[in-house]
Every structure is written in C-alpha cells, then in structure tokens.
C-alpha cells in the first residue's frame, strides 16, 4: 500500500506547487537507506562531528572505529587521539568546520553530575543546523553514571522528535565498563543508512563486540520462521547477503513462495506450521547435522478483536504462534545442544507488546511475553556467548498493515517522529545487525524499529 504523502514528498515539483498554493502538508522526509549487503565502509564520504567533552573515555575507541568505517571527522575537544588513526585510513581530522554534517556523535562517558549536562547543549546546539537530511545523532554514555545515562536518553528521545521531520534519527549507546571496543558495532549501525527507521533507541553494550565487517556470516547457519514474505523474506535475503546459509521456514500452504525465496538464496525451504507439536522433529530433520548460528522467530499472526468479543481459539492461536512456538522451538534446539557457541536468538516482538493496542490483547500478550522470555534466556545463555534479543517493529508497510482500515493505518504511519511507515527491509537490517559479530555486546534487549513511534515510547 503506497504512502501518498511520502510520494508527494518525493516529487519536488508537487512539493513546490503545494507550497506556492499555500497548502501546508506534514510531508515526511524520504529516508536515506542503503540497500544490499553491509559495506566495508558504510560511512564512506560522510562527515561526522565527534564531541569529546572533558573526561570522555572513549576517544581511543571512537578514533579507531570512525575512520575505519570511512568517515571524516570533525572533533570538538581534544583531537590528538584522533589524528593517528585518521592518518592510517587517509581520513582528515578537523577541529572546526562549517559544511554539512552527516552524523553527530557525543562521547558523554565523562559526564556524571547534573551540572555537567550543559555539555550536551554545548555540543549539539551549534551543530544541528549543519546536520544533513537523514542525519544521525548518537550519544554514548556510561551505564555506571546513572543520572547522566538517563539524562542523555531523555535528551536523545526529544532530539529524535526534532530531527524526525528531516529524516534524522537519535539513538543512545550505554557502555558498560570495559565495553569500549564493543561500542563500535552499534555506533556503526546507528550512523549508517542501515538504521534508517531506528530512532529514540537505547542499547546497552557489554564487552565482547567487534567492529562491523562485510560477509561476517560466511559459513553460518540461520533459521528464519515466517520467511515467505514481508519482514521474513527481507530478513532471509539480508542474512544470505552476509554469507549465511538460510533455512527458510513458513507454513506448508506457502510452500511455493517459501521455496522460491529459498532457491534464489541458495538456502533451503521447510514447510512447517510452527505450532505443530512435531515442529521440533521436523526442524531437526531439515537441518541434518547442522548446528544453528542464528535463530530468528519471525512467524506471527493477528486475530484482532476487543477482548470482550474475542473467542478463546483466536486468543490462543495468536499467543501460540508468537510466543508458545518461540519458547518450544528454542528450548528444543537448546536441549539438543544445536545452538552454536556465539549464536544468536532474535525474536520478533512488537510495539503492541510494549504499549498495548486496541483489539490486540492476544497479540500484545504474546509479544510482551516474548520480551520476558528474551530477558530471562539472555541471562541463561550468557556463558555460551549466545545473545538473545527482541526486535519490536512499529508500523511497517507489509501485507498485514495494508489490510488495516485507512484511518488507523494513517494514524499508525504519522504518529511517529519520522511520520511514515517503515519498510520490511528496515526490520531485516536491524535483525541482521543483531546477528553479526558487531552486536556481540548486545543481549537481553529490545530494539524498536519504529521510526520513534509515539506508542509506548
């Protein structure tokens, strides 16, 4: 289903004509996206301003990460640590500038007390006017400085709302002690065009992450449920583009579609109802002696009705597909020891699971339950370096949302900082990021891909 306002916004002539006619429409900004596999230098040719107010602790890590990603750097603060690494990658470091900026990164790890928070204003305020369309703001704070950590989240979420109309995003990375190098992965993701629809988010990183690199899933085995269309289809494509062998799982009815997708990727298809009691056996048979490196639970159904009018069968179906099957299949795979060390479990939640949604008591219960499972499982599997996370999509332009009545659909699109729906590829890119070694420091968390939807935020 096309988005009329976004289409209008894409047409310069129409935009002008509307302006001349005095018609003021809240036209959303077409987002800058990067299709295809993760590139070796996702920030090639982009200029990123880095703020390192006194006491900032991550200069060395940022100095190595940003030029490697292809960015040129403008430093506000002590530029000395940035010069060597920039030289190694043939990138400039300046200490002032007036040109457009593609990203703003503030290393707020030196901030703790309330009176130090002025540094946030000092860095961002003079530079916001230079931030390009689809510009990226990332603030890094220390988890062990509780006041500052919460404060930057508040600032980032508000700033996201300011930037949304020009396609900009603002996100926060909370670094645990010793997680300096792990910051590079989420930093690269938030600064790149792979996170076009991710805004107002906070991720906590622990030690263990590695910088982003292309083809990092070479030789890995991924299993994705609900792979025949929409988010699932884009996810298997994105995982395969990073080198993974993908087992595409979808309902037996969709066998033709699933097979077509799998064939195109050199993966395999499995017609399987995830709620089938024999699902575990069938999955095992399809995998042969392969172990799973990336398990993505994407299958889901809606059976919307107010609770007052909902039949028990509709309640339990929604809960069983989105939650029951997730738990059963994951536990079975774990019991068989078939999830590789360093593996990934990624389950699809929903902003409905965070905020609740009229007519979705069943769906929201299931999607919220997923978060509870992810949080508990992450702790259980930490020893094995397996990360477990949830992705909570907002309004995504899929077959499912195209069927939503017009008025509700429009509300879903517009009630967000970016003022538009996301693409299935936006969710696929976030899932793929979590599947890569760059996200090894992220576990037990919920990453929303919602354009900073106002629901539950």
């Amino acid at each position: 289903m096309s988005d009329l306002l976004l289409d209008l916004s894409r047409s310069r002539g129409l935009k002008k004509a509307l302006g001349a006619a005095g018609v003021s429409l809240p036209l959303p900004e077409p987002l800058r996206r990067q299709p295809g596999p993760i590139s070796s230098r996702p920030l090639e040719g982009r200029v990123v301003a880095v703020g390192v107010p006194g006491g900032a602790r991550l200069s060395a890590a940022l100095a190595e990460a940003l030029p490697a990603l292809g960015a040129s750097i403008e430093v506000d603060g002590d530029a000395a640590p940035f010069r060597g690494p920039a030289e190694a990658f043939g990138r400039g470091v300046s200490t002032s500038g007036a040109g457009p900026l593609d990203g703003l990164v503030l290393d707020a790890t030196g901030l703790a007390a309330p009176d130090e928070l002025l540094a946030l204003h000092t860095f961002f305020q003079p530079r916001l006017g230079r931030l390009s369309r689809s510009g990226k703001v990332v603030i890094i704070a220390r988890r062990s400085a509780p006041i500052a950590a919460r404060a930057v989240v508040g600032l980032a979420k508000s700033l996201g709302k300011e930037l949304g109309k020009s396609g900009g995003t603002a996100n926060v990375i909370l670094a645990e002690d010793g997680a300096d190098v792990s910051v590079a992965g989420p930093l690269g993701f938030f600064l790149s065009s792979k996170s076009a629809f991710v805004s107002g988010q906070v991720v906590t990183v622990r030690p263990g992450g590695a910088p982003s690199r292309p083809r990092s899933l070479d030789g890995k085995v991924a299993v994705v449920t609900g792979a025949a269309r929409g988010i699932g289809r884009d996810t298997v494509r994105a995982l395969a583009a990073e080198g993974a062998w993908v087992l595409c799982v979808d309902r037996p009815d969709d066998d033709a579609e699933t097979s077509r997708v799998a064939r195109a990727l050199g993966g395999a298809a499995l017609g399987l109802d995830v709620t089938d009691p024999a699902a575990g056996d069938k999955l095992r048979a399809a995998l042969g002696d392969r172990s799973i490196d990336v398990l993505v639970h994407n299958a889901g159904v809606t059976r919307d009705k107010t609770l007052a009018r909902m039949k028990p069968a509709d309640f339990s179906l929604a809960v069983d597909v989105s939650l029951g099957a997730v738990v059963r299949i994951t536990e079975r795979v774990l019991a068989e020891g078939r999830l590789s060390k360093g593996g990934r479990v990624i389950a699809l939640s929903s902003i409905a699971g965070l905020a609740g949604n009229l007519g979705q008591t069943n769906y929201a219960a299931a999607k919220a339950g997923v978060i509870g499972y992810v949080e508990s499982l992450a702790a259980r599997l930490a020893e094995q370096e397996i990360t477990v996370n949830a992705i909570a999509p907002g309004f995504i332009e899929t077959r499912m949302t195209a069927a939503v009545p017009l008025f509700i659909r429009e509300a879903g699109r517009r009630l967000s900082s970016l003022g538009q729906g996301g693409q299935p590829s936006d969710v696929a890119d976030a899932i793929t990021f979590l599947a890569t070694p760059a996200a090894a420091g992220i576990t037990g968390q919920v990453l929303r891909v919602c354009g900073q939807s106002f629901l539950g935020a």
């Binding site: 060597g84 030289e87 190694a88």
Partner: protein
C-alpha cells in the same frame, strides 16, 4: 651456504620511453617488446640456444595475439623458446619477472627473459557490446535482408553505439585513475607544492642520470619509422617547481593533480635476463643482483586505489629479512606524485602500521637521498607493462655499479593492487647467510 636455488639478474635493457602518439606510434606492443629483447640479447651476449623461456607482461594486449611473449620469440626466431604473457595491471612486468624467478627457484628453468611492453598508441578502439551483439548475426553465417532490419532494431534507440575512447578507469568503480589520485591527495593531505617539488626532483634526477650516461646503460636505441630514437622523450631537466605550479589541475576543479605531477601515457618496453645462480656462473656471467623476495597485496579500489605498495613493501621486506631503513635504495613507480607521497606517508606512520598492517611500529621513513635516485615514471614515462622491468633494470645496474647491497621496489596498480620486490647483491647475501649460519 643456503641450498636454495636463487634467481639472479644478469642484465636488463629497454627501449627509450616516449610519449604516446609520437615517434613509436607505428610500433605495437609486440614490436616494442621485440626491440627490447633484441637489445638485451645484444647487450648481454647470451647465446640464443641457452634461453629457455620468455615471460612477458602487458596491460593493453593485442586481442589477435595476446600471448605477446611468444610473438616476440617468434619474431626473433627463438622458435624453441616457450613463452607466456602475464597481466597484472601496472605491475605486469614485475609479475613476469617474479613468475620467471619462481620457475628458476623451483628448478623448472635456468635461463629466462622477463619483461613487458605497452603501446598506448595502439590501444584498440572498442565497439560497445550492444553493437557487437546486434551485429553478430550479420558477421557470422549468411544474413538475409530481414536480419539487417533485426540488427537495426536491436541497436535502437541509437544511444551508446559509438566506439568508446579507451580510458584508464576502474571497472568496479568507474573512477579514472587521476580522480583516485586526486582523492588520495586530499585524504592524505598531500599539497600541490609537495607534489610539484617531487615531480621536479624526478625530472632533475632523471636528467642527471641521462647526463651521466647511466640511462644509456639500460636504453637500446630504436630505429623507428621516423628515424633513430636514442633517449627518453619526456625528461625535462630544466623544469622547476615554479613552472610546474603554473599548470592547470587535470582531474578536478581546484584539484592538485596536473600533467606535470602525473605520469604520462607512454610507449615502451623493457626486458631483463634472469638465470639461476649456478647457470650464470657456469655460463661465465657476473650477476648484478639477486631477486631476493617479492610480495603482492590488494586493497579496496573504492577506498585508496593506489595505496597498495604500502601493504606490499613491508611484506617483501619481511621476506628478505630487511627493514626499510636497511635498504640502500628505494625505487617506487611514480604513477602520480600524490600517490608516491601518500604511500611514503603511510609507510612512515605508526598508526597505519598498527591499524592496517598489524605491526607494532611504522615500516619506516625513506631517506630522500636513497629514494628514486635516478628519477622515476613522472620524468621517464610509464609504459604500463614495462615499468616493473625498468625498475629492476635500473636498480640491478645501480647495485652493481655502486656495490650497494639492497634495493626495494614498489609499484601501485589498477584494481587496488600493490607490488613489491627486493633485489640484493649476490656476494653480500651469501656472506650474510654464511655468517648467520655460523652464528647459529
């Protein structure tokens, strides 16, 4: 003493290097190669019957006879000399030399000629694939009138049907090499002044080498259709930084790369005579240098296209057991002054060593007094396929002439390739190895 077979350089020869579309226009890549090899045979006096193999390098290969090496052999009546032709962009003739050296070290061969040639003047004008595919039914078989109509239909709309001008552009990025060098100049902060000063130095040193007769040691005069050519055509001993500063940027508005600090399109050929140490001794030759080590590397062409030597040089040095400071001579191909200076800067950078090469410390600084002592491609010109053999010839002669011990060569090449080799003086190395083994 080491038991390993070693490959030695017995001698080298090259044609004069002249600007494309000047005196060598009617000499194609095979003809230029034949002249260089004939000169090498005459200079060294090697018996034709002792030559076993030719390994030739070229970039713009004639499509009707791409094995240029064998064509040269046939033209020189070296009927039983087997030959191959290798292509590795501007590192092609270095590739030819190290391919031959490998064969000699392995014991597959004892006497080989390796070199390369290119004639930019004879680059074939390419018809667009659209035209080729549309015309195929007409060229093959017996076309009917209807086939002509079909072909015309396939060509419409009549865009992209004119032959394309050959350009040195990367296939994957579409970027012309000068643009890549321009970006490298910006990114590595290489100023116009530094580039022009380097270019002027190249010309002055090449002119001094020509004056001293050193270039005559490597050049064999060529009888071109317009008369004899005895020397290189592009050296300007009288150029100055001020003169170079007046030239307009060639690739970007406000850019720094000019015709004066970039190497020009050139026609020419160079060849070296390689032998196993034992055979050289048996045949009574005094080797000029040993081909001690070599290395090839690659970087992403979309990043810094011509930085490859900064990766390859340290590898070749490691394999030879030398440091950059140990090398008595450093000779880099000068595609662009900005490119050489970028590579020099990378090699001198601790951060580059740590983050890009995984080494503790910078590879090293290059003493200007040892660096491209007789000028380089900026002054002499750069026939793509001949430059590697030109470097080996110049450095082998220089080692033999001065008694110095080692030279490291570096070449950047299209596709993000870097190439490097280390030449050493035979006796010194034997002594060193002997001493090392005694110490052990």
């Amino acid at each position: 003493m080491s038991n390993r077979r070693r490959c030695v350089v017995v001698g080298g020869a090259r044609t004069p290097f002249v600007k494309a579309f000047t005196s060598f226009t009617e000499l194609d890549s095979v003809a230029l190669g034949r002249l260089a090899v004939a000169g090498l045979l005459a200079r060294t006096g090697v018996a034709r019957g002792d030559i076993q193999s030719i390994v030739w390098g070229g970039v713009i290969l004639p499509s009707a006879s791409p094995n240029v090496g064998r064509e040269i052999a046939l033209d020189l009546s070296l009927i039983d000399v087997e030959a191959q032709t290798v292509t590795r962009a501007c590192a092609s003739s270095l590739s030819a030399i190290t391919t031959a050296a490998s064969a000699i070290e392995r014991g597959d061969c004892d006497v080989a000629i390796a070199g390369g040639s290119d004639s930019t003047s004879n680059a074939e004008i390419k018809l667009p694939q659209k035209v080729v595919h549309a015309m195929a039914p007409l060229a093959l078989g017996k076309p009917k009138p209807a086939d002509y109509l079909t072909a015309v239909g396939k060509l419409a709309p009549f865009s992209d049907v004119l032959p394309t001008r050959p350009r040195i552009a990367e296939r994957t990025t579409g970027e012309v090499m000068g643009e890549a060098a321009e970006r490298m100049a910006t990114r590595n902060e290489i100023t116009r002044e530094a580039q022009d000063a380097f270019a002027a130095r190249s010309h002055h040193r090449a002119a001094a080498a020509a004056e001293a007769g050193l270039l005559a040691d490597e050049i064999v005069p060529v009888e071109a259709p317009g008369g004899w050519v005895h020397q290189d055509g592009m050296i300007r001993g009288d150029t100055t930084v001020d003169k170079l500063a007046k030239l307009r940027p060639a690739f970007a508005k406000g850019g720094t790369i000019t015709a004066g600090n970039a190497s020009a399109l050139t026609d020419g050929a160079a060849a070296v005579l390689l032998m196993s140490e034992e055979r050289a001794k048996a045949l009574g030759f005094t080797p000029k240098a040993v081909v001690s080590s070599w290395a090839y590397a690659a970087v992403d062409p979309a990043d810094q296209l011509l930085i490859g030597p900064a990766m390859a040089v340290p590898r070749a040095l490691d394999r030879a057991g030398l440091s950059l400071e140990d090398a008595d001579l450093v000779d880099f191909h000068e595609a662009f002054a900005a490119q050489v200076l970028s590579v020099e800067k990378a090699l001198a950078s601790d951060a580059f060593a740590k983050l890009r090469l995984g080494r503790e410390r910078a590879v090293g600084r290059i003493d200007p007094a040892r660096f491209n002592v007789h000028g380089g491609s900026l002054a002499l010109g750069h026939p793509f396929g001949a430059t590697g053999a030109r470097l080996v010839t110049t450095m082998a002669n220089e080692l033999a002439r001065t008694g110095k011990r080692s030279a490291v060569l570096g070449i950047c090449a299209a596709g993000g390739l870097g190439a490097a080799a280390v030449l050493t003086r035979p006796l010194e190395i034997l002594d060193n190895l002997g001493a090392r083994q005694l110490a052990a």
